[in-house]
């Protein structure tokens, strides 16, 4: 029971960290290797707001998230849009976006290093125990879990049932066809990318409340997010949510009943086995040869 709760809460964090990437990669088709750097930048921004003007991180969200949206919007316009245009002929957006976001990764990381040094950044906010079904959990972790659920489910509903969701899905699955029915694919992709950046920032704000981070720890988030996204099926929010929870549960269970030394190995093992069993991910519909 304890490990179940621990696992769910941990999984919530993973899911939260992955929502933005599923948007960016699933809809905008940008394989963003600098995703974790966006998360970390938001964490640093929150850290600075908290330690300089003592701004409550939950309020900081309302500054950081819109900022991340507009920054991502412009990043797309400046860096990605030309690539998308170029790739229409060649169809190598995946390779190009890997290369360019790899550059972006270094750029952002370098700026963070110069601004904040290599030191560990950490502060405490809402690090207070909350009793849930007799098990104590940190309030800030519950917030992460709650936010993951709310964002994940509402995005899922939005995509599944709204007009805008249909547009998104059209762009995600068949961009060429979406263009034919009058959808401005490039614009939708740009907005999706920006929303993805905003989601990354939200994750960063929340994670910064309980996790120690450094300028170079972005890669960890990118990799975890990638695994969750692929496991859940690219572009599927419900899938991201569920696979995040599965990974969290697996880690907690293995840690309690098997050996803490095998937690990360089990994560990758589950991921690899799942990919072999269902190459399109848990909830993916794409047919992969």
């Amino acid at each position: 029971m304890t490990s179940l709760m621990i696992g769910l809460v941990l999984g919530g964090t993973y899911a939260l960290a992955a929502l933005g990437l599923t948007m960016q990669y699933g809809v905008a088709r940008i394989m963003n290797l600098a995703y974790g750097e966006f998360v970390i930048s938001a964490a640093f921004a929150t850290f600075v707001l908290f330690s300089s003007i003592n701004l409550n991180p939950l309020l900081a969200m309302f500054i950081v998230a819109p900022a991340a949206f507009s920054i991502s919007y412009f990043v797309y316009a400046i860096l990605m849009a030309p690539l998308v245009k170029r790739s229409k002929k060649k169809g190598n957006l995946e390779n190009d976006s890997i290369l360019i976001t790899f550059g972006l990764l270094f750029l952002v990381q370098g700026i963070l290093l110069v601004l904040f040094g290599a030191d560990f950044a950490s502060y405490n906010y809402l690090n207070i125990p909350v009793n849930v079904f007799g098990i104590t959990i940190a309030a800030n972790r519950l917030i992460a879990f709650g936010l993951a659920m709310i964002l994940g489910l509402s995005l899922y509903c939005l995509v599944a049932y709204s007009q805008w969701g249909i547009t998104l899905r059209a762009v995600a699955t068949k961009p060429e066809n979406a263009r034919l029915v009058g959808i401005n694919v490039d614009r939708v992709a740009q907005i999706a990318f920006a929303i993805g950046g905003m989601l990354a920032a939200l994750a960063g704000v929340v994670i910064s409340m309980f996790q120690t981070f450094t300028a170079t720890s972005g890669v960890v988030f990118t990799m975890k997010a990638l695994i969750v996204v692929i496991m859940g099926g690219v572009g599927n929010f419900m899938g991201a949510l569920i696979s995040g929870l599965i990974l969290g549960l697996a880690e907690a269970t293995v840690s309690t009943y098997v050996d803490p030394g095998l937690t990360l190995a089990s994560t990758y093992l589950i991921f690899l086995v799942l990919l072999l069993w269902r190459p399109q991910g848990l909830f993916g519909k794409g047919v992969v040869k």
């Binding site: 990669y25 394989m31 860096l79 030309p82 690539l83 170029r86 060649k90 190598n92 995946e94 390779n95 190009d96 890997i98 290369l99 360019i100 790899f102 550059g103 972006l104 990764l105 270094f106 750029l107 952002v108 990381q109 370098g110 700026i111 290093l113 110069v114 890669v219 990799m223 990638l226 695994i227 692929i230 690219v234 050996d259 030394g261 095998l262 990360l264 190995a265 990758y268 093992l269 991921f271 690899l272 990919l275 072999l276 190459p279 399109q280 992969v288 040869k289």
Partner: protein
Amino acid sequence: MITGAKVSVAIIAFGLLALLPFFLEAYGLGLMIGMLSYVALATAWSMFSGPTHYISLATVAFYGVGAYTVAVLNEGISFPVILLIAVLIGLVLSLAVGVATLRLAGVYFVIFSFGLAELVRQLITWYEVNVTGTLGRYIFLPLEPQDIYWLLLGAATLTLIIGWLVRRSRIGLALRVIGDDEVIAAHIGINLTRTKLLLFALSASLITLVGAIQAPRWVYIEPSIVFNPTVSFLTVIMALLGGPHRLFGPLFGVVPLFLLFEWLSANFPNHYSIILGALFIAIVFVLPNGVLEFLDRFRLRRAKT
């Protein structure tokens, strides 16, 4: 196609490179060692990933396994035998992995291969901690930098020769067909799985060899050192930038990038990341598809004559 002149140029180049340690200082030699290892890695990587378009991030899984083999066996067995064992381990591992993974395509394979590298690292760590009870291992082999240089030169040359032979062989052609269109490939009689598996294993064994050769240079080895994912990333970037479709393509990516990295970390140790990132972005824009496009054009021109 292949003329006597080209062969003699290649032999002379090889001879000159082999003589280099007698003229270079330790640093120059170190530079050449680093460069040669990436030449071998990127060329071996391209052997499989170039024609198939499978972007593999598992480079460091095999590279690390090679290094670890040396760390485990370095006492009591002669170095050439260790290298051979390392290659065999790489071969077996890659065949096992290949059977399971090569039916994945696109980004699924990319992430899978990355996960694989991490999995291998975690399992080795767990094994060392729980079974052997050590984690760091020491390598005290009487190898001088020039020995490692010559071995790497051999490995790089071997990789290029194998790459050249593969290119001329039916398997090379089969891979090109697979890269162009898997459906056609199957319907003209190519066994997709076997072909990919063979090349994956060949490429992985060479990568394992490079890791094994380089290991004695570090003296101390532990998983976080030898399974550094940067190796995988750099290999991909260098190969993609140079053009993984051509035999010498990766070479054109490795040499300039390697020197650039070196120059940046020496002259701007505090702003290395920023400048590197900016340069990277610039390269993607200014040299669309890197040196690759240039090489494609070159090939077209040659096809016409």
